[in-house]
Symmetry: C2
Subunit: 522 residues, 2 copies
């Protein structure tokens, strides 16, 4: 069964009984079975047949009690449930399930911002709350707190964080800024993690660890439970800020850039995440490819150089933001400029320091001052046609040697399959993630197939070089998980043991990150 | 059985067979059964009968293979194993097991420093490595990395971190600075977490999360596995530093201190952990109680004021350290001084900025520049006799209101039982932990019993006020865990489900943090 009309190993009759039970529990309006309704749950950028990830139905609960009712029915009839917060992460599969025929459990109606604490700088939110929602809420109450926006502001705060998304402020490692969860287990039990495990705790959103083992991490990129509330730390609005953009002229500058940046990020002279991106990625935000190159195959270096010159950008571009009082920001920038003066032809563009009540004008820069946007979608126009992309996301140690190795490997393989190197690195204090997007016209089956083949090749070859991905599209979950092979895949045995203990029927998101797929996968 | 001569529910004959098997696996020298040998595994500061936590034997493996052999035997004969790295945390039970008659698994021979990476600033260590060991190793190789010492430098890096210990540098939240583990499960399987799950990974110690669920947190304060390797992030030596000590004259200053400090810690103007400690705690580091007060009951305010005046300290004392180039440190301190100028009679003592190659002289201050010591043990002399202490460690949101509530509650109850308020708060960016030590003469049964009763009272009454502990002594694990009562103790049900899945015989550290004790507890 690949057409999504039924869950695997469930008969038409049984499914009908289950759907009736779901309708009784939620109301008919919140059980989606029409093909029009289910179209919203198809993978919007599928690098292949979207039917391979088609849902059989979608359920839209409004509460924890609704979820518990759904779980009772799903356990009874062995119905796999694929949970999404809002399903807006289009590069990794959107709202589509890993296993065709799964029923999507869409938490978009659970969209309350339960608490914003101005003193301790956090929010407690439900899964249906988007970054736009939270931003509007903070604006409306004239909050002195900033959120950290991901690439696309329509995403769910909970969903993005559970998938370990990143932004570009000092709070850019979303999973690291999460504190406290409420989780519904497959058996319907409702658990609060950390200090939330105490009734009336004063510390649920301030101290992650709690007493005894900490569980938040096992519910990330996971199918062990359904997260229904989550605490997120927010950044106190600084006195002011200064947006900085270093432009590096030479393709070969990459190792020196990374090795110069690393110590400054490690000791937090640079507080924000640092984005080091290739000219093509910058250009795709402000132009289309045909303005620069119309020949066959990937853009050659000469065309990239000419494009960079015209746009006034570097072959590599490093963006970051400094925050705080004017003299502290100035002292930081002096240290940074001194360090980068060693790289020939490097140029710095930096706004003057401005107080944080004033927002800078325009563009992607706003994400570093807490303003969510949708500028990331601009890349869909790069190549022409019906733009789509699928992302390859290896973790990279922040050394020049590792960055160069990954860049060469990815750029070379991309060129083999006809793709430009649309990529860049985002650096925290001790790791980077490298994001490469294979941009394709999804109406062109040749490009689509090439994107698919390229991704599979990159996962294998980077794995052989010791580089694993931190996340991946539905199509590659098994393949990416298989790279984690220490002691004959001991980590997966641990995952499967815990999966069996917490979800013996295997109803929660089978196949998620390669876990618990056996019952329902063909 | 409380005398520790046999594991619970194990016959003398079976235990003899098991011990023979252990001797065959490890060599007779590494199976400790003599009462002299086992004395080292008694609770050194027991607030009651140390025999309640007496071990029946101790095993000292040298390798992962040794541990796997021990596990096979323990599973076969149902022998409970209480794992310690080195067992040096005397205030919480030392090397003694929760359940009398458990066999201590002492990892002190596994003491290799496997890797120090100067570029990415981390170490990979085995459980037997102490902070002193790691410090000597860093000194010997003229490393440019600092470790973060806990209160007592003889402790194990792995053990302290697994128990979520704290120090006072910017790396003072040890659990937050941990990255990547190797864990032996009860069935002998060897798992590496995070990126270490990939053979030849380049990122095991730089990216915590890995792909899929993250497990490191579930092996902290836990009995789900035996941690045999651990990555710890180290702090790049800064250009220089400035040690700061604010002295506040009035007992009632506490709320203003905390509310003034919080925003500076939140935005990392102050980079280090901030210690706010009461005059008695400071005084106990440099003097004995009888110098100041010889009357009955706890020291009265007049005596505390006189003592503080003589010692030149405040009723409350705030210590922190600023790191970086001289101008950046100066800019930070200007912001801090401006903020605290609002508190009347506050005085600042701060060293001049000094380059980080120069170590400051003397005392506890050295811990904020990465030098481990044993100064914390000075407190044992405070009260006279054979000094011991047992600690109460509630988590406190960093607000003046919460700090005041905890201080009042703890000081009042301490006085009820005849104890001085020896306490203070250590502040990270978004939470504090409050440590109160009940200091007693362990040769005095009245004092010992009073310490025990005080601890039990504090746990209950702080729990009722919404404050949970982040760790506790062996005697209070069940009681502290019981405070975590949301949804009728849902978190404990989750813990027990995972415990059963990973350790069905329940042989690993039964009773640890209240988990998995039923099989072996009376």
């Amino acid at each position: 069964m690949c057409n999504g009309s039924l869950p695997p190993n469930v008969t038409n009759a049984t499914f009908g009984v289950a759907l009736d039970a779901f309708r009784k529990a939620l109301g008919g309006a919140f059980v989606v079975t029409s093909s029009d309704g289910l179209a919203a749950y198809l993978d919007p950028f599928a690098p292949g047949d979207a039917g391979q990830h088609a849902a059989s139905a979608a359920l839209i609960p409004a509460s924890v009690d609704d979820i518990r009712a759904v779980l009772r029915i799903a356990n009874q009839y062995h119905i796999p449930l694929w949970t999404v917060s809002t399903g807006r992460n289009f590069a990794y599969g959107g709202a589509a399930p890993r296993v065709a025929g799964s029923v999507v459990l869409d938490l978009k109606r659970m969209n309350q911002i339960l608490e914003v604490d101005e003193t301790l700088s956090y929010a407690l939110v439900e899964p249906g709350v988007s970054y736009f929602d939270l931003y509007q809420h903070l604006m409306a109450r004239q909050s002195a707190l900033w959120l950290d926006p991901p690439a696309a502001g329509w995403g769910s705060v909970v969903g993005n964080t559970l998938e370990r998304g990143f932004g570009t402020t000092p709070y850019g490692d979303h999973a690291a800024m999460q504190c406290g969860m409420e989780v519904v287990l497959a058996n319907g039990d409702v658990v609060r993690t950390g200090m939330g495990a105490m009734r009336d705790s004063r510390s649920w959103q301030v101290f992650k660890a709690g007493f005894g083992p900490s569980y938040d991490g096992i519910f990330m990129q996971s199918n062990f439970g359904i997260v229904t509330k989550m605490g997120m730390w927010l950044m106190p609005r600084p006195a002011g800020f200064r947006l900085c953009h270093f432009k590096f002229r030479h393709d070969g500058d990459l190792p020196a850039i990374i090795d110069t940046m690393r110590p400054l990020r490690l000791d937090e002279t640079i507080q924000s995440q640092v984005v080091v991106e290739h000219a093509v990625r910058w250009a795709a935000g402000v132009s289309t490819r045909s303005q620069w190159y119309k020949g066959p195959g990937p853009m050659p270096d000469t065309a990239i150089d000419a494009m960079a010159k015209t746009l006034g950008i570097g072959r590599w571009n490093m963006r970051f933001c400094l925050y705080g009082p004017e003299d502290l920001v100035a002292a930081r920038l002096r240290v940074i400029e001194r360090a980068f003066s060693a790289i020939a032809d490097a140029r710095l563009d930096a706004n003057a320091w401005m107080p944080a009540t004033t927002m800078p004008e325009g563009g992607g820069d706003q994400s570093q001052v807490g303003v969510p946007g949708m500028a990331a979608f601009q890349l869909l126009n790069w190549r022409g046609g019906t733009g789509a992309h699928v992302d390859f996301s290896p973790v990279c140690p922040p050394t020049g040697r590792d960055a160069l190795a990954q860049y060469h490997l990815v750029r070379t393989r991309a060129a083999d399959f006809g793709f430009d190197y649309y990529g860049g690195f985002t650096a925290g204090p001790r790791h980077m993630h490298h994001i490469f997007a294979a941009i394709f016209n999804k109406d062109d089956p040749v490009q689509t197939e090439a994107a698919h083949a390229l991704l599979a090749t990159l996962i294998e070859q980077c794995g052989q070089a010791g580089y694993g991905q931190y996340r991946t599209h539905l199509d590659y979950m098994d393949r990416a998980a298989a790279q984690y092979d220490f002691n004959d895949h001991a980590l997966m045995r641990l995952s499967e043991a815990i999966k069996l203990a917490l979800d013996p029927q295997g109803i929660l998101s089978p196949g998620k990150q390669g876990i618990g797929g056996t019952r329902f996968t063909p």
